[in-house]
C-alpha cells in the first residue's frame, strides 16, 4: 500500500502535472499566487492600479475558492495594522497595495519588520503625488527601503505569480515581511499566458505556516512592550542577521521552484552578460525592454548585457559584484527619483561596488521617471552615450 502511495506521490511531486495555462494580467497573476498560498487573513484596501487584485480575491472568495478572512478597512494604514497581529497570531497573511497606500502604511512597515511578521504584500509601483498621476514609477517602494521589508521586483505576470509563492517561503523561513513589486500597467494590466501550478504541488512547496512564537492564550506570549536599550539593540542585530540570510534563502526557494515547476528567476539575473564590456542594470518591467535593446546591440556586434536586480532588499552585494566583475561600464536605469540623490538603484549600486577591484564605471540614468516611455532604441542610445562619457556624480536625466 505504502509503495503504491509513494509511487503515486512520486508521479505527482515535481512534475507539475496539474498545471494549466491562462491568459492573465499581472494583477490577476498576483491574486492567483495569493490564492495558491492559502493565506488565512487578507486585509485589503482598493487603490489604482492594485484594485483588480482585490476584486479577483473577493471573486475567488465568492466562488468558494478562497477561504481567507478578508477584511476591508477604511485605509491602507488599517490594512497593515490588521496584518501584523494576524500574522503574530500564527495566520498566513497577504495583502496588496500601491503608491500612496504603501506610503500611508510607512509607520506600520517598520512595525511589521520589528514584529518579525512574515506578511507578503504585492505593491503595484505607481507615481507618488503630488501632483496626482497613475504611471509606473518605483519611488513608492524604494522610499520604503529602510523599513526592513525584503523587496523583490518582477518583470512579468508569470514572475509575479511565482514570486508571491517564493516570497511566502522566504518570509516564513527568515521571519521578515516581503514586498513583491510590479510596475503599474506594464506588468499589472498587461495580459500574457501564465502557467498556474497545481495546487497540490504548491502545497508541497509551501508548507503550512506554524510559527513557534505566536499570540495564543495557551502560550501567553506578548509583543510590543517597552524594552531596554540593550534589548532594542540586540533586536536590530537579529533583524540584520535574518536579512543577511535572505539572498541564500531566495536562491534556494527559487531553485526548488525551478525543480518543481520548470522555471526560476534567480536573485540577480545575468542576461547575455558573457564577455560583456557594458551592462545595463535595472529592475522591473524595464528589464523586458532592456532585453530587446541588448539583443539589438549584440546583433550589432556590441558586447552588451543586462543585469536584472530581482532582489533589491537586502541588496545582493556578492551576486552583483560577481555579475559586474570585468565589466567596463555599468549603465543603471532608474525608474524612480530621490530628490538630491537621483536614482536609488544608482546610489545603492555605487555603495555596493565601492572599493571593488576593477569595479565598472557606474553611469546613473533617470530613465522612465513618472512613467515616461523608454523604448529599446532609447536604451541603445543611453548605452552609447554612457560608453563615450565619464560617469557623472549627480543625476543624469535621460529620455
Amino acid at each position: 500500500m505504502s509503495t503504491m502511495l509513494d509511487a503515486a506521490m512520486a508521479t505527482r511531486a515535481g512534475r507539475n502535472t496539474g498545471a494549466r495555462t491562462m491568459l492573465l494580467t499581472g494583477n490577476q497573476a498576483v491574486a492567483w499566487g495569493a490564492r495558491l498560498a492559502r493565506p488565512q487573513v487578507c486585509p485589503v484596501y482598493p487603490i489604482t492600479p492594485q484594485t483588480p487584485v482585490l476584486e479577483q480575491l473577493t471573486e475567488f472568495q465568492a466562488d468558494g475558492a478562497f477561504d481567507a478572512e478578508i477584511i476591508t478597512p477604511e485605509s491602507e494604514h488599517s490594512v497593515m495594522s490588521a496584518c501584523i497581529p494576524a500574522s503574530l497570531a500564527g495566520a498566513r497573511v497577504f495583502t496588496a497595495t500601491a503608491s500612496q497606500g504603501l506610503l500611508l502604511m510607512h509607520e506600520l512597515l517598520h512595525y511589521a519588520c520589528g514584529a518579525r511578521a512574515p506578511i507578503v504584500m504585492a505593491n503595484i509601483n505607481r507615481t507618488v503625488a503630488s501632483p496626482w498621476a497613475f504611471w509606473p514609477d518605483q519611488t513608492d517602494s524604494l522610499a520604503q527601503r529602510d523599513t526592513g521589508w525584503v523587496q523583490l521586483y518582477v518583470e512579468s505576470a508569470q514572475e509575479a505569480l511565482d514570486s508571491v509563492l517564493q516570497a511566502f517561503r522566504v518570509a516564513e523561513s527568515v521571519m521578515l515581511p516581503v514586498l513583491v513589486n510590479l510596475d503599474a500597467f506594464y506588468v499589472s494590466h498587461a495580459m500574457e499566458p501564465v502557467e498556474l501550478p497545481d495546487p497540490v504541488d504548491v502545497d508541497a512547496y509551501l508548507p503550512r505556516f506554524a510559527p513557534e512564537h505566536r499570540l495564543d492564550t495557551a502560550k501567553v506570549e506578548s509583543w510590543g512592550n517597552v524594552v531596554t536599550q540593550d534589548m532594542f539593540y540586540r533586536h536590530r542585530q537579529s533583524i540584520e542577521e535574518a536579512m543577511a540570510r535572505v539572498p541564500q534563502r531566495l536562491a534556494e526557494a527559487d531553485r526548488d521552484w525551478r525543480e518543481r515547476f520548470g522555471r526560476g528567476w534567480g536573485v540577480v539575473e545575468r542576461y547575455r552578460c558573457e564577455d560583456a564590456d557594458t551592462v545595463v542594470v535595472t529592475m522591473g518591467s524595464m528589464c523586458g525592454t532592456a532585453r530587446v535593446a541588448v539583443d539589438a546591440m549584440r546583433d550589432a556586434g556590441q558586447a552588451v548585457g543586462l543585469v536584472k536586480v530581482r532582489l533589491f532588499r537586502p541588496l545582493p552585494v556578492a551576486a552583483l559584484r560577481a555579475a559586474l566583475a570585468g565589466v567596463r561600464d555599468a549603465v543603471v536605469l532608474d525608474r524612480n527619483h530621490s530628490p538630491g540623490t537621483g536614482g536609488v538603484l544608482h546610489q545603492e549600486l555605487r555603495a555596493a561596488l565601492y572599493g571593488m577591484d576593477g569595479a565598472p564605471r557606474i553611469h546613473g540614468m533617470l530613465a522612465g521617471v513618472g512613467g515616461v516611455n523608454v523604448p529599446p532604441a532609447k536604451i541603445v542610445e543611453f548605452v552609447r552615450t554612457a560608453r563615450a562619457s565619464e560617469p557623472q556624480p549627480g543625476p543624469v536625466w535621460a529620455r
Binding site: 487573513v41 477604511e74 485605509s75 490588521a82 497581529p85 497570531a89 501567553v220 512592550n225
Partner: protein, 301 residues
C-alpha cells in the same frame, strides 16, 4: 463601607506600574478578571501600556499585543480574524485604550471596525486628556478644563463618543465608572456574551492631570456620575437606551471644585457647564423613556 470582591481569578497582577492611587488599575483589574484567561488584549500607547509593564515583565496574565497609537481597532480586527480563521471563535479580543487613542488618533479605524461590526470589546479608559504625556487636551477633554495645551482652559466641548459609536448601529455601547464597580462588571460580562463590536467608555479621573489628591480618584469618579457630567447608560443596537443611575443628585459645581484643572472658573462658566449637563441628561432621560415605550409595545404585539 461597601465591599466588592473580584469574584474571579485576578488577571492583573500586583506590582504593576500604575501611579499610586490611580483607579485605572482598579478598573482594569475588574475588566480583566471578568474577561477571563481566554482573552487577548490589544493595548496601544497609553497609561494602560505603562501599567502592563516593560518587557520581559507583564502585569497581565494574558497575551498582550501593543499596536501603534492610532491602530487599536484595526489591530483588534486583524487579531480577531486570525483567531476566527484558526477556529478560536470563543477567544475574546479586548482593547484597552486611552481617550487620545480612541477619540482622536484612533478614531478613524474604530469607526471602520464598528461599521464592519468586528467582534471585539473595545474599552476606552477615558481620563479626558493625554495624561501619559503630562496632561494635554484631547477631544475628550471637557470645556474649561486646563491642560498643558489649553493653559487658559479648553474652549470647545468634550466629544460625545458613546453617541457617535451608537450611531454606527453596533450591538452594545455603554459608559461605566470604577466608582460603580458592580455596574462596570455587569456591563463587561454582558458585552462578553454579545458578538460584534462592543464599546465601553470608563471614566478614569487622573490624579495628576485633573489635580486631585492621591485618594480622591474614586470620589471624583462618583461625583462625575452623580452630577450627571458622566452619566452611566447603555445603548443597544444603536437605539435602545437604558439609564443605569436614574437620578442626578448633586450640582456640577461640587464635581468641578474637587479638581485643580477647573480652578478659577467664572460663575457663568460653571453655569454653562451645568446647562450642558442638564441638556445632555434630559436627552438621555427622553431616549431611555422612548426605548421603554418601544420595548413595551414590542412585548404586547
Amino acid at each position: 463601607m461597601m465591599r466588592f470582591d473580584l469574584g474571579q481569578d485576578a488577571m492583573l497582577c500586583s506590582g504593576h506600574a500604575a501611579c499610586p492611587g490611580c483607579i485605572d488599575a482598579l478598573a482594569a483589574r475588574h475588566i480583566l478578571a471578568t474577561m477571563g484567561p481566554d482573552t487577548m488584549a490589544v493595548i496601544p500607547p497609553s497609561c494602560m501600556a505603562i501599567i502592563a509593564g516593560p518587557q520581559p515583565m507583564s502585569s497581565l496574565k494574558i497575551p498582550v499585543y501593543q499596536p501603534t497609537l492610532e491602530s487599536s481597532a484595526a489591530a483588534a480586527s486583524g487579531l480577531r480574524r486570525a483567531l476566527d480563521a484558526q477556529g478560536k471563535r470563543d477567544t475574546q479580543v479586548l482593547v484597552l485604550a486611552g481617550d487620545g487613542g480612541t477619540y482622536d488618533i484612533g478614531f478613524q479605524c474604530l469607526s471602520s471596525a464598528a461599521e464592519r461590526n468586528e467582534d471585539f470589546l473595545y474599552v476606552c479608559l477615558d481620563n479626558e486628556g493625554y495624561m501619559n504625556t503630562g496632561a494635554q487636551k484631547s477631544s475628550s477633554t471637557p470645556r474649561y478644563a486646563r491642560t498643558g495645551s489649553t493653559p487658559a482652559g479648553k474652549t470647545s466641548r468634550k466629544k460625545n463618543l458613546p453617541e457617535i459609536m451608537a450611531a454606527h448601529g453596533v450591538p452594545y455601547v455603554a459608559t461605566a465608572s470604577a466608582s460603580h464597580l458592580p455596574d462596570l462588571v455587569r456591563k463587561i460580562a454582558k458585552a462578553k456574551t454579545i458578538r460584534g463590536t462592543k464599546i465601553v467608555t470608563v471614566l478614569i479621573p487622573c490624579l495628576d492631570g485633573w489635580g486631585l489628591p492621591d485618594d480622591a480618584g474614586l470620589t471624583a469618579a462618583r461625583y462625575a456620575v452623580e452630577c450627571g457630567a458622566f452619566p452611566l447608560y447603555e445603548i443597544e443596537d444603536g437605539w435602545r437606551y437604558t439609564l443605569n443611575v436614574a437620578e442626578k443628585t448633586r450640582p456640577v459645581a461640587g464635581y468641578l471644585a474637587l479638581q485643580r484643572r477647573y480652578r478659577g472658573m467664572a460663575d457663568d462658566e460653571v453655569a454653562n457647564l451645568q446647562a450642558d449637563v442638564d441638556r445632555g441628561w434630559a436627552t438621555l432621560v427622553e431616549r431611555a423613556a422612548a426605548s421603554q415605550r418601544e420595548g413595551a409595545r414590542a412585548a404586547t404585539e
